[in-house]
């Protein structure tokens, strides 16, 4: 009977709370399905990304012809294109978020940790950049320097690190003052160990929430650019590009708009729900 009472870590606690949040769990499952479909789906179809079915141009979805989502105005299979577009959108989301994560954490943690004048200067830079209409700059970049995928990643990542830096800095400042850090100092732990064991794990929660909320934002920015015809280029495609193509023929072929739009919205919806769920799970004060 003398079972040892085990402490529950922050993450075990959070996981338990997350599991109880039905909306977040549903969103997570749906998201996993979308990712699975997007990765494996194109192999299921007999068609390829830029293969043209000359007999069936702009045909509605049909099981018979194996064009499950129909075809577009030049006879390409929309099922395969939607999934390939999804790969692109998700990849942009992940890579650009990683870029913003690295810059944001480095900038924010440095400012918060060093404090004083360095902090003041670094945050002033963030404030100034924050006030800029960045979308305009990204559009300019795309127009003037060509539609390089790498450039899209970097440009979008470069916009999004500002929020991350602010959040990480604020959190670092707050954590420095907390009793458990004081206790750790009193116990004689070294600074790197305090940071690794007490500061970073407490940052991770906020960062995790923020990452799940940044991914949909980034996907949105990429789609926005692609919609304007400034994002990825043929034959590659993304959800934004497909929505753009679909919107041009929505009167005669509504399916070419509805499928990519549905996937895009569903993905953004899921990411936002998971992010919200994570936030509630990691920070239960507001429940």
């Amino acid at each position: 009977m003398t079972e040892e009472i085990r402490g529950r870590s922050l993450w075990q606690d959070a996981l338990a709370r997350l599991k109880r949040n039905r909306a977040a769990v549903t969103a997570l499952v749906l998201l996993a399905l979308i990712v699975l479909l997007v990765t494996a789906g194109p192999w299921l179809s007999p068609w390829s990304l830029d293969e043209i079915d000359w007999d069936r141009i702009s045909t509605p979805p049909s099981l018979e012809t194996r064009h499950w989502f129909g075809t577009d105005s030049v006879g390409r299979d929309l099922f395969v294109r939607t999934l390939h577009g999804g790969r692109m959108s998700l990849m942009v989301g992940l890579v650009a978020t990683a870029v913003s994560l690295v810059i944001g954490i480095a900038w924010g943690a440095t400012a918060g940790y060093l404090g004083g004048r360095v902090d003041g200067f670094m945050m002033r830079v963030v404030d100034i950049l924050y006030a800029m209409p960045f979308m305009f700059f990204v559009i300019l970049l795309m127009v003037f320097f060509g539609r390089d995928i790498l450039l899209i990643f970097v440009a979008i990542g470069a916009i999004n690190w500002l929020d991350m830096a602010r959040i990480v800095r604020g959190q670092t400042l707050a954590l420095k003052q907390r009793e458990f850090v004081e206790a750790a100092v009193a116990c004689g732990l070294t600074a790197p160990r305090i940071i690794a064991r007490h500061i970073v794990p407490n940052l991770l929660g906020v960062v995790a929430v923020y990452v799940t909320l940044t991914i949909p934002q980034v996907i949105l920015v990429e789609s926005f650019l692609s919609f304007l015809g400034l994002g990825v280029q043929e034959p590659a495609t993304s959800w934004g590009a497909l929505v753009n193509e679909g919107a041009q023929e929505m009167e005669s072929a509504p399916w070419s708009l509805l499928f990519p739009a549905g996937f895009l919205a569903a993905t953004l919806f899921c990411f936002n729900f998971v992010g919200d769920g994570l936030r509630d799970a990691l920070d239960p004060r507001d429940r």
């Binding site: 209409p133 300019l140 970049l141 926005f224 919205a265």
Partner: protein, 307 residues
């Protein structure tokens, strides 16, 4: 208060200067020029054109000239629309965009605040869950997806409203673009409002108000609403920026002759001065709006002023 405003105003100058400098050099360093076309021009004509628009001067001198003209409120001639200055193009496009933007922000504010308050008062009950799910949907559906869907439903199928065009800003032409622009902002504001209202309602001031026996209506409208509005006020800056950016694509979809369209067309045609003009103009507008929002915030919340 005056000191505070002056401080904020001076703080805005470096932002504008950096914005301007970045935009200027990014554009000039990019390959390609405004007079590139299928046929290459004879060198003399090219040289004359370059001289006319001062493109033959060293870059720094051009930059200095641009700044000097800007100080005099002159944004220069447009490269593409000959016979028009950028000032004229902005003067013709901005009122259109302004009308669109103001209508969107106004609707987003009214609807967002109302929905958010309602959700907070019914916290964790069906109405709250319903509103928040709706808000999440609004955030998740990008406006360039929403716009074609709205056109498909209301213009193509039902035929109630026109699918595009401006028509001097008739309300029938305004409805769909304004909905498409406002909906994501409605969602954000509703979420913000719910959160801050819940927080305010837990506060001591509200407990006192209730203890005095005030009717619930008075408690909410007179005591809770103002402090709960603070985060929404500070969100107005980002919201305006989002509406301005959004209007670039919405104007494109609905064929509305506003500034956003000028920007996209100008960028595609490498119309340096027009693009610069729009960026500078919108940049200044956003900075100015952030300043106004700051002041508004300080006026609403005295704690900010003395920090």
């Amino acid at each position: 208060m005056l000191r505070y405003s002056l401080k904020r105003l001076v703080g805005a100058i470096p932002t504008l200067l950096i914005l301007l400098t970045l935009a200027f050099f990014m554009m000039r360093l990019a390959p390609g020029g405004p007079f590139d076309s299928e046929k290459s021009l004879p060198p003399e004509i090219q040289a004359n054109l370059d001289r006319k628009y001062h493109l033959d001067e060293p870059l720094l001198q051009q930059y200095g000239r641009y700044l000097w003209d800007l100080l005099h409120g002159d944004l220069g001639p447009s490269f593409q629309y000959r016979d028009y200055t950028v000032n004229e193009l902005i003067a013709s496009g901005f009122p259109v965009s302004l009308r669109l933007g103001l209508a969107s922000i106004a609707i987003a504010l009214v609807v967002g605040v109302a929905l958010g308050t309602l959700a907070a008062l019914r916290q964790n009950r069906p109405a709250d869950h319903g509103i928040m799910t709706l808000a999440m949907t609004g955030i998740s559906i990008p406006n360039f997806v929403l716009a074609p869907l709205l056109i498909l439903l209301f213009a193509v199928h039902l035929g109630w409203l026109p699918a595009g065009g401006w028509n001097d800003g008739q309300w029938r032409n305004l409805v769909l673009p304004v909905i498409a622009l406002a909906l994501p902002q409605v969602a954000y504001i509703a979420r913000l409002m719910r959160g801050s209202m819940i927080e305010v309602l837990r506060g001591n001031a509200i407990r006192t108000a209730r203890a005095k026996g005030l009717p619930e209506r008075t408690v909410i409208l007179r005591h809770a609403l103002k402090p709960a509005l603070l985060p929404v006020v500070s969100f107005l800056g980002p919201a305006t920026a989002a509406v301005i950016t959004g209007s670039v694509v919405i104007e494109q979809i609905f064929g509305i002759p506003g500034l956003g369209r000028h920007f996209v067309q100008g960028a595609l045609n490498r119309d340096y001065t027009l693009v610069m003009g729009v960026v500078v103009f919108y940049g200044a507008l956003i900075v100015l709006l952030n300043f106004v929002v700051d002041l508004l915030y300080a006026a609403l919340d005295p704690r900010v002023r003395y920090r």
